[in-house]
Symmetry: C2
């Protein structure tokens, strides 16, 4: 009997990862190719499906492809398009039209954070939950909001951009063109900027006085904090305060059971999770106090978006 | 043939309004009694159902009661309870258990802003919309969030408390015990507080220099602004700026088609709506710009909560 599998594709700025996933989240194939966004998007899908064909022949499994799920930056769930993603050079891409030339199976598309949320719901820390939020803390801050067991897409398919809510109206310049967005504080580059701000403010000794902005990363701030570096510790406290305050706002909108943190900065673990929870509680409206968990993702970082992209198709099938 | 009608009940701090409503929002009866929350809640329902019986005999319509929908402060949709509302003295009320003694029909319960949102969806400005937010600007700031045609209740039934998101972490004392909540700025008392703050900051001539805080209301600020009072004009600008900024945050969460303003302060009309829209656009993440309408409620203020409470039952029936 042939196994039903979904092709999950995670399109990133540098690499595109893809895998064959069954309904339980088991991988039957996992591979990647360079995205090469200086070439037209057709080129990526050409190379991807060629490699996919090669690999499926090799694994020699009798399977039935039930659909193709894709996670990509600035992806629109309704229109099945990718629209002017900042780290890809493609502009407006009608993904469905391209894939139709290769496959007749159903296609679903959403942004990477939404895909990660579905991945957590089916295979990760949100199993069994109907209301939760996934926050990805990487180069930016992405978010996927699940209400009553479904992703919130909103009127235009772009809902869930908590990273671009306002913290300080005249705050840090954001890549999006606005000022003071949450992701300029709570993200891997955000905590680096905080280290510089704190070095400018305090006279504490710190290893970061000897390093240029381009020479350190979020992991080094985590390590320094664990070694007791005062600036690194204060940077985590500041990040947690801002993030906790804005997560309290997010709770006031959709009242989730849990908020799941994912991605580079979330790897700091309790160093970030414990103070973020404490600050969130401080800013929560009383009816929500002591109800909302903050937990770390249970998905493998490299594979979560592929699992989530595949879950897009499984979710649509299971809803019917 | 008997008509199918719903009893809609809006429990307020002073009065409780109730009405018989058909699926199209037509009223067959509308009345009110004092809430008297110094008496036990059983007393209110006793008096209400007694009066309801009397009135239905008088109107002499052959109807079939299909359900009872209730809007009340701090109402929990899942548990059918009212939980420690600030302006009622009841504490924790198991509403369903009380009503069961009188009626066997289905009961639905939610807070007044959520009820108003359903009212707008079925009978008002949100007809035909699947994603929108209703903001009530009265003594406080309430909100009802609709995603994909359903109210967002969240994990605990209390979702949609945008009035208690944080504007300034060390800002104005809020009735909820926190500081700097949106409703301390954008509400009828909020704009009054803003007038005082502006009088303390500027030297402009203003009629409000001759009035104590207790002697003016939001309507007088509207009138003064229309007459060109500099402080009143600045008060609307400040209120619109804060509200616009936080509505941009709300859009980033659920990406609504429209935000509908309702209640006392919304009666200022374009004086509030136009600058709120302008400021919201300024703070919106680029993908949402020029997509989200800000409009005024189309429901009669006195009856909207009753219509919305009745819509709770109609909505549950129509979903099945």
């Amino acid at each position: 009997m042939s196994i039903k599998l979904v092709l999950g594709i995670d399109i990133g700025g540098t690499n595109t990862v893809f895998g064959l996933i069954d309904q339980e989240g088991n991988e039957y194939l996992m591979s990647s190719i360079p995205t090469n966004s200086n070439q037209p998007p057709e080129d990526l899908f050409n190379r991807l499906f060629l490699k996919f064909d090669e690999l499926t022949k090799k694994i020699n499994i009798d399977f039935h492809l039930v659909g193709i799920g894709i996670g990509a930056p600035n992806a629109n769930y309704y229109k099945k398009t990718i629209e002017y993603p900042p780290n890809l050079r493609w502009g407006y891409v009608e993904v469905e039209n391209i894939i139709k030339k290769f496959y007749t199976q159903p296609i679903a598309l959403t942004n990477d954070a939404n895909a990660a949320a579905l991945g957590e719901m089916y295979y990760g820390a949100a199993k069994g939950m109907k209301n939760f939020i996934v926050i990805t803390l990487g180069t930016g801050l992405g978010s996927g909001i699940v209400v009553d067991g479904n992703l919130v897409y909103g009127n235009d398919g772009f809902a869930g951009e908590i990273g671009h809510t306002v913290v300080f109206p005249d705050g840090r310049q954001c890549g999006c063109g606005k000022k003071g967005c949450l992701e300029t504080y709570a993200s891997a580059p955000g905590i680096k900027r905080t280290v510089l701000e704190l070095l400018s403010k305090y006279n504490y000794e710190s290893k970061f006085r000897k390093l240029s902005f381009d020479d350190f990363d979020a992991k080094m701030i985590t390590d320094a904090a664990l070694e007791g570096d005062e600036i690194a510790l204060k940077a985590f406290d500041f990040t947690a305060k801002i993030l906790g305050m804005k997560l309290a706002d997010a709770v006031a909108h959709t009242s989730p059971e849990a908020i799941i943190l994912f991605g580079g900065l979330a790897n700091a673990g309790d160093l970030l999770l414990i103070p973020t929870k404490r600050y969130m509680e401080e800013y929560l409206f009383h009816v929500f106090k002591n109800k909302v968990k903050i937990i770390k993702s249970e998905l493998n970082e490299g594979k979560s978006a592929v699992l989530g992209a595949a879950a897009l198709i499984w979710h649509d099938i299971l809803k019917k």
